[in-house]
């Protein structure tokens, strides 16, 4: 037995199974992210709508699914729907009878309700002046949304969205509780077969780590592409005073930080 807690031969042998698990993880991730992105925009618009008939159901949806524990949500979707005879005998059973589809549904409900806050914050960060300029040019509110507010919100929200995607990708591990064989489930199976507690888990961890960093690289490329209007400064020594600029640090915080680094006691602090 080697000093390392890792059995390299076992790790090597488990690679094909790990890749199969990774495929499932990726499939769940991509599907849920795609559904979440498409569905969260109308849900956000409903949430911020001045009309209560849209805003209240959206708020109810968000409050419920953000609050619902993800594990229990998956249990309810997978085991709960099977208790409804009409559903069990109906044509939709193709969906609700599949653990994979149930995982996608449960995760999408959860992911959407988080995404609403990301989308909402990004839309609110678009300067009102740009919306006004667009409307003054005679664009309808819908055209203004499509051509001005949404493209700019995408840029403002990219960082927050990246966080959400990374957290979510790692969080897909919960689908193993409803019998979906993802990367974590594969690692667990190998553990149960070999009683080696380290090798399969660390192998899976390496897979997750690579996946998350690939996501980071993709986002970085996307950010560069979307923000080319800000990086096109090579021929100018000082940045032009264009709107919108990122929000500056509030001066009180800056002062507080400065006072801390200089060893000056902050306001209200006893000497």
């Amino acid at each position: 037995m080697s000093a390392l807690p890792i059995d390299l031969a076992l790790a090597w042998d488990s690679l094909p199974a790990m890749f199969r698990g990774l495929t499932t993880t990726l499939l769940v991730t991509v599907l849920v992210l795609a559904f979440g992105l498409v569905l969260s925009i109308p849900l956000t618009l409903a949430r911020i709508s001045p009309r209560r008939i849209f805003a209240w159901p959206a708020l109810l949806f968000i409050v419920f699914f953000r609050g619902a524990p993800l594990l229990l949500l998956l249990y309810f979707v997978y085991y709960g729907f099977g208790q409804i005879p009409a559903l069990r005998d109906g044509p939709l059973w193709i969906i609700f009878g599949s653990s994979f589809a149930c995982a996608v549904i449960g995760l999408t409900l959860n992911h959407m309700s988080y995404m609403v806050e990301v989308v909402r914050g990004s839309l609110e960060a678009v300067p009102a002046g740009l919306t006004e300029a667009s409307e003054a040019l005679g664009l309808t509110p819908r055209e203004t949304f499509t051509w001005i507010r949404l493209p700019l919100a995408m840029r403002y929200g990219l960082k927050a969205y990246q966080n959400e995607v990374v957290m979510f990708t790692k969080g897909t591990a919960v689908v193993s509780v409803i019998t979906v064989v993802d990367l974590t489930a594969v690692a667990n199976e190998i553990f149960e077969l070999t009683y080696d507690p380290f090798t399969p888990m660390l192998t899976a961890a390496a897979f997750y780590w690579v996946l998350v960093n690939l996501i980071r690289v993709v986002f970085r490329a996307l950010e560069r592409y979307l923000n080319r209007h800000l990086t096109a400064h090579e021929d100018r020594s000082k940045p032009a005073n264009s709107l919108p600029q990122p929000t500056p640090v509030p001066s009180s915080i800056a002062r507080w930080k400065a006072s801390r680094s200089l060893g000056v006691p902050a306001k209200g602090q006893a000497l």
């Binding site: 300067p127 002046g129 740009l130 006004e132 300029a133 667009s134 409307e135 003054a136 040019l137 005679g138 664009l139 309808t140 055209e143 051509w147 001005i148 493209p151 700019l152 840029r155 979307l226 080319r228 209007h229 800000l230 096109a232 400064h233 021929d235 100018r236 940045p239 032009a240 005073n241 264009s242 709107l243 919108p244």
Partner: protein, 262 residues
């Protein structure tokens, strides 16, 4: 001297048939909560007139100009623009906005679009122009504000004065009969103010109907047919430019002019 000649050339002769009305405001009120931003505004602007609105900050100048294309909905009175009454319906609002171009203090160029894309977006969407036709038109107006060679840059790559000239070109690409300017030079460095005023004077000499909120009194004297003085949400005095500067009727305007004209 030139100011007088310009003024007389542009001013409509009262004896002949009056020009058609471009903007008619009657008894317009506007409230922000309990604060009354505009009270009983009566203003009639005829086609081809150049109106300069001035007054101390908080007097309602910007609010007034923004009610004309309903960026601020008014709470009382009537506003009719080129025969279209702003009654709050989305259709009428849209129609009026197609008649009225606007230039803002902060330029408000779309930062994610190039200069050219900024200029062709609205003509393509609202006037149904082809990409080619819209680009031709955009280049015509960009050349006019002397910025054609920068068409493929992004707004952040231009100076403030250049950005404001693009904003003017963007509004002109819609070929509106009426233009509103909301303190177009207030956010600019002094050396850039001139280039923007030059473009505006050029427009004025073309017969465009212009309503302009500005603190540039030299510009007002050279270009305006009439000047409006506002205070506390009311029009205190409205007079032909010559009379406005040399023979103000109200005490409040005399004080204001004494303060800003040194």
């Amino acid at each position: 001297m030139t100011a007088m000649i310009d003024y007389q050339r542009i001013a409509p002769a009262p004896a002949t048939a009056p020009r058609p009305v471009a903007v008619q405001m009657t008894g317009v009120d506007k409230f922000y909560g309990r604060f009354q931003a505009l009270s009983g505004i009566d203003l009639e602007v005829r086609k081809g007139e150049k109106i300069v609105i001035c007054g101390p900050s908080g007097s309602g100048k910007s609010t007034l100009i923004r009610t004309i294309n309903r960026l601020e909905p008014h709470d009382g009175g009537r506003i009719v623009v080129n025969g279209i009454e702003l009654d709050g319906s989305p259709g009428k609002t849209q129609d009026v906005r197609l008649e009225v171009g606007m230039v803002f203090q902060q330029f408000n160029l779309f930062p994610h679009l190039t200069i050219l894309e900024n200029c062709i977006l609205a003509p393509r969407l609202t006037r149904g122009l082809s990409k080619k036709a819209a680009e031709q038109r955009a280049f015509r107006y960009l050349e006019r504000v002397q910025i054609g060679s920068q068409a493929h840059k992004y707004p952040s790559q231009l100076s403030g004065g250049q950005q404001q000239r693009v904003a003017i070109a963007r509004a002109l690409c819609m070929e509106p009969p009426i233009m509103l300017f909301d303190e177009p030079t207030s956010a600019l460095d002094p050396e850039m103010i001139k280039e923007v005023l030059q473009v505006m004077e050029d427009l004025a000499s073309d017969g465009m109907t212009m309503i302009c909120v500005t603190h540039e009194m030299g510009f007002a004297r050279r270009v305006a047919t009439r000047c409006v003085f506002m205070d506390n949400g009311q029009i205190v005095e409205i007079a032909p430019t010559e009379q406005f500067f040399h023979d103000p009727r109200s005490e409040r305007l005399r004080e204001f002019l004494a303060q800003i004209l040194h």
